[in-house]
């Protein structure tokens, strides 16, 4: 692993708070298929391992958190789902999870700010709730981000609620993230004044502050890396704070540069391979030797692609962190493993 730490970020130390000590809201985005939900979940565990109490939010209605942590589908309610890794002398914090859906967020908002019990139901009856949460441009995102804001910035209206040290948001994909967070712009032209506009303004102030960062997850392939480059440019244009790039599913490093070069050019020593194999007690067949050499060539090509894309990522000038591809897929154990890698590299 070769984390590329940008200027101003120190290395992690046990019990420390990693590269982002000022941050209360970690937004995790990434191209579809790069594992952004996995990274968000592992980040929540990693932060909890530093002793923080963490809330992990999802806003896309997929119940991904429940599946990853192997718990019942989550309601619109904060549930304790895991605790961080006990590391050294630090007592681990807890991870709570919240499944934010726009409809519940709207009804809660109406009840909290307008005391609209009866009117809330009338709105539902007239299809207004449905309209606001599915059709009305931008309103859905204002509601979802508004709830996340409320969790970060707990106030007196939500009396019995838990206060968190950090909130991790499993956010929409890179292609939509700036639009999603930039609720102000989405509403501009629609609502120039009024309560919904001031709600959006308050949320924006938090998102643009040093208390928020947006981490982008990618894999070392051309399209996702290009999308990450574009995503960072869009975030910067919108004055949203860019965090780190999390490079996911990195291939294993079992071959050194000389072997990779030989694998690519087909000059690995066949005879030596065969004799090593029989020394290791494996029955040597042509098929086996061919297969191992072919696999080595595929792997070397892939590593070369990864190296060229890593150069692009490093040129972005933001800290990057690398996570291995886990051959057995992602389960709770896998999440803890990734969380430990994040701690080592200082993401948390």
């Amino acid at each position: 692993m070769s984390p590329n730490h940008g200027a101003g970020h120190g290395a992690a130390h046990a019990g420390g708070r990693g590269d982002w000590p000022e941050v209360d809201l970690h937004v995790v985005s990434g191209k579809g298929g790069t594992g952004k939900s996995t990274v968000a979940a592992a980040l929540a565990l990693a932060l909890a391992s530093t002793g923080q109490n963490v809330l992990l939010c999802e806003v896309e209605g997929r119940q991904g958190i429940a599946r990853m942590f192997d718990v019942e589908p989550l309601p619109y309610e904060e549930r304790r789902i895991a605790r961080g890794l006990p590391l050294g002398h630090v007592a681990p914090g807890a991870v709570h999870a919240l499944h934010v859906d726009a409809e519940s967020a709207l009804l809660e908002y109406l009840a909290m700010y307008y005391k609209l019990g009866r009117a809330g139901r009338a709105l539902d009856r007239f299809g207004v709730i449905d309209f606001a949460t599915t059709i009305a441009p931008g309103v859905r995102d204002v509601l979802l981000t508004g709830k996340v804001y409320e969790a970060v910035q707990r106030n007196a209206r939500n009396k019995s609620a838990m206060v968190y040290d950090a909130v991790v948001l499993d956010a929409p994909p890179t292609g939509r993230i700036t639009q999603f967070l930039n609720v102000n712009d989405e509403l501009a032209g629609l609502a120039k004044v009024g309560p919904i506009k001031s709600q959006a303004d308050t949320v924006m102030t938090l998102f643009r502050s040093p208390r928020t960062v947006v981490h982008l997850v990618t894999v070392l392939e051309e399209m996702p890396v290009q999308e990450t480059v574009d995503g960072i440019a869009h975030l910067r244009e919108a004055r949203l704070p860019v965090g780190g790039v999390v490079v996911n599913m990195v291939r294993p490093r079992d071959l050194g540069p000389a072997d990779l070069e030989a694998a690519r050019t087909g000059t690995l020593d066949r005879e030596a391979l065969a004799s090593d194999l029989s020394r290791a007690g494996v029955e040597v067949t042509h098929e086996l030797v061919d297969s191992l050499l072919e696999e080595a060539r595929d792997h070397a090509e892939r590593r070369a692609l990864e190296d060229s894309q890593r150069t692009v990522v490093e040129a972005l000038g933001v800290p990057s962190y690398e996570l291995p591809r886990l051959p057995d897929g992602i389960d709770l154990g896998g999440l803890y493993e990734l969380a430990a890698r994040m701690r080592e590299q200082g993401l948390a």
Partner: protein, 391 residues
């Protein structure tokens, strides 16, 4: 005959339970008029759509492919980087022909308004702040407009005989189901109760307003502000006459999708989330009586040519490492173990899926080591889709 011998070892374990999807037969069938590629985000829908369209064109069909958000270099190679919402011919394709276009959501919406309303009224709608936000927001509009554009191209193809096959990519939604749900949602909103409520103050005398209505209007004013409500009312009033048209169009496209000339391909990757989405989608298509052609599993790990198991490989690597640490051979064995584990996991996922959906024909496309962004790459994907080995 020796080639009839059943395969043994782990290769046999990866044999699909479901039948193989015959992509060439589907593309060659003159009865196939529309192919819709759907699935969750990040599974390679756009590349698959483009590869299918190219393959069909090179097998003699006159094809148009409607893409939603292609990667820049893929768009360049298809010659559609400038969004102008019109199909453009792709050079170097034959004996059939291939046109490609990238959907411009807002423009499609504007065109519908312009074609349905008088110039004055159209102007009033196009300038309305609520319309501007609605037509460029992502929530449902993109799905609706993809369907709208499909309907347009289909009508044009019927009238002018321009194309005999339309390949459609679907928007990168939260869920693959949004593609089917969004148009219905939009059109049911457009003639739902909420619209009548918005129109009520403008049209009917106040005495018809029930207590509920009063409550709602007050609440909306409180939350949205009077100005937003006014914009919405103006928009709705101007749009009123078009609603019927919108609903009709959505219904027409919906029945077009149900017609036998349409084939849905569900695209997935060998990952639990993508396959779960694919299962939802298959169930939904069946429920809605939409013609499902099969499942495409993209990005499968390439198979190994040996049945040496992961455990055996690790054990051998460990033995070697004891005598010669850092040996090349032990590295190769570890890589092999890693690959076998992944293959095993993917095979298990696909088998489970096939057990639950035994009648869905499937094709598996192995991952390429590099990205695809030119016609040559699309041809390779096309032949892999059709079950030919990678060239």
């Amino acid at each position: 005959m020796t080639h009839d011998r059943p395969r043994v070892g782990p290769l046999a374990a990866t044999t699909e339970r479901a039948s193989r999807l015959d992509v060439d037969a589907l593309l060659d069938d003159p009865g196939t008029g529309i192919v819709v590629c759907c699935g969750s985000g990040g599974v390679g829908k756009t590349t698959t759509s483009a590869a299918l369209a190219l393959r069909a064109a090179e097998r003699g069909r006159r094809v148009v492919v409607l893409t939603i958000d292609p990667a820049r270099r893929l768009a360049q190679s298809l010659g559609i980087e400038d969004l102008d919402n019109t199909p453009r011919p792709v050079a170097g394709v034959g004996p059939g022909s291939l046109d490609a276009m990238m959907l411009d959501m807002k423009r499609t919406f504007d065109e519908v308004v312009l074609s349905q309303a008088s110039p004055d009224k159209a102007r009033a709608i196009l300038d309305n702040p609520f319309y501007i936000a609605l037509s460029s927001s992502f929530s449902g509009t993109q799905e609706y407009m993809a369907m709208e554009k499909l309907g347009q191209i289909h009508r044009q193809a019927q009238a002018e005989g321009t194309y005999d096959l339309i390949v459609v990519d679907t928007p990168p939604s939260r869920s693959a189901l949004d593609f089917l749900d969004a148009p219905e949602r939009l059109s049911s909103f457009l003639d739902g109760r909420f619209i009548r409520l918005l129109l009520a103050p403008a049209k009917g005398p106040a005495r018809f307003m029930t207590a509920g209505l009063g409550l709602v209007t007050t609440a909306l004013t409180k939350i949205l502000g009077a100005q937003v409500l006014r914009d919405m009312q103006t928009f709705v009033a101007a749009f009123d006459t078009l609603f019927g048209g919108f609903r009709q169009r959505a219904q027409r496209t919906f029945s077009l999708l149900q017609a036998p000339g349409t084939a849905f391909l569900v695209i997935a990757a060998p990952e639990p989330d993508a396959l779960r989405e694919a299962a939802y989608f298959v169930e939904r298509l069946t429920e809605d009586e939409m013609p499902l052609a099969g499942l495409v599993v993209n990005r499968a790990s390439p198979a190994a040519r040996t049945d040496l198991s992961a455990d055996e490989a690790i054990a051998a690597a460990d033995r070697l490492a004891r005598t010669s640490p850092g040996s090349t051979t032990s590295g190769l064995l570890r890589l092999h173990a890693d690959r076998m584990r992944i293959l095993q996991r993917e095979a298990r996922l696909r088998e489970r899926w096939a057990t639950a959906h035994p009648d869905v024909a499937t094709t598996v496309v192995p991952a390429l080591a590099t990205d695809v962004h030119d016609l040559e790459g699309l041809r390779r994907i096309g032949s892999l889709l059709a079950g030919e080995s990678a060239g």
